[in-house]
Symmetry: C2
Subunit: 276 residues, 2 copies
Amino acid sequence: MQEFSYLNGQILPSEETKIHVSDLGFLRGYGIFDFFRVLKGRPVFLQDHLDRFEKGAKQMGLQVAESREKLQDIIFELIRLNPNELLGIKIILTGGYSADGFTPAEDPNLLIIPKPFTFRDSAAGLKLMSLEYRRDIPEVKTLNYVTPIRMLPKLKEMRADDLLYYDQGLISESSRSNVFIVKDERIFTPGTAVLPGITRMHLIAKCGGLFEIEQRAVTLAETLAADEVFVTRSSQRIQAVTQIDDRVFNRGKTGKITGKLQEWMMREELTLQDAY
Amino acid sequence: MQEFSYLNGQILPSEETKIHVSDLGFLRGYGIFDFFRVLKGRPVFLQDHLDRFEKGAKQMGLQVAESREKLQDIIFELIRLNPNELLGIKIILTGGYSADGFTPAEDPNLLIIPKPFTFRDSAAGLKLMSLEYRRDIPEVKTLNYVTPIRMLPKLKEMRADDLLYYDQGLISESSRSNVFIVKDERIFTPGTAVLPGITRMHLIAKCGGLFEIEQRAVTLAETLAADEVFVTRSSQRIQAVTQIDDRVFNRGKTGKITGKLQEWMMREELTLQDAY
């Protein structure tokens, strides 16, 4: 079926969304993006994602040409044009067509790309491989994924699903998700130098009735000694981590608390008024 | 005048070199590049640049579709089609059109983009601003320049031309050049965690008759206490650094040894057989 995307003021067939190679996202990785799911026509946590997108643009000195209202109109028009039960929408803003190949242009390039989406099996736990690495500008969702992509062959060789970044003994995040550890029924997650994940935010703010989540420095050592580890990610909600390097958690099964949070998150996402 | 570029097997007008937004260089900054000058139709240090490009591709798990001979043929054809006294040629290889937006495609995208080029005034010294930062995969010329581009407004505010990266007290490089310091007529440059610059390589290998250049760890403190500081860069050869932060070198003028090396480099570039 024909898919449609948005590029700088125009809606066009997705196969025609091409940019000139002087784009600074292409030449220098200079840009940001965000990603959210659309469930039966309703974007999940849309305002939160647009908040983060607009904030990231500001942090990178990039102007979002369209107002929040206009962005929403475009997104809903794209949802109408791409009728799918489950859709993933990526919104990208780059430094634009640069005259000298280094300096951002006056006008950034703005893209909104919807694609049919499928969930990974949520029952299957993730295996992470630890890597000493610190993301540049971790608080912003930039286009730079050079390190995790370069590690893909290594991940495959180790039969791992993703990386767990640590620096000077402290964990930060996975390549595309936030990390939480559970110890003695308490939950901890790094509070600084991580992407401000939307699922993470909702979990910390609203699952207080069930559990308390403390934001503080988390060492790699205590992560490996935890009872449960899980990650959050807009595209996959909450996923159990069943192995990090050689350490297997819960005999490879989703832990009790992780399971409860998964259920809570499903309900939260489906019932929250501000989710849409 | 009409300019021509190369994209995946085709030579086409430069304004038509567009790539689909599923390109992994665009979506994730996953790719490498190289850049060399062409003086009156003769590419400077071409084999060195292609050596580095091919090595970088291997380090990133990317296949260069064309043989060395074919690459050279394309480059010389582009030089013929873009007749300029001075040309800068950029050669880019990305992870290709990715099916899932994260995994490199079977076929990378290969681009060769020539552009008319002008030298910066070599008499004008550079002012650098120190920044605590370490490049990911410094030995490879990846597309990730998020941090230096983000710092452009700050550089402008400080009236600085470029950054000087340091990490844990040791300098590494500038955002687009290698750094050398001169103390008591001896020259030092960091030997690890820097881009293997082509100008740097020639300088270290061949100016031994004039001076000795030692590769070793260089602290930020000794850089600030140096007699002279200079940077090397394929696009600008050798440039004096006349200021770092508040520290002015040589009353803002090009130092004696830096000047001698600049002259040596000019001759080297013009006379070397293997330059072309």
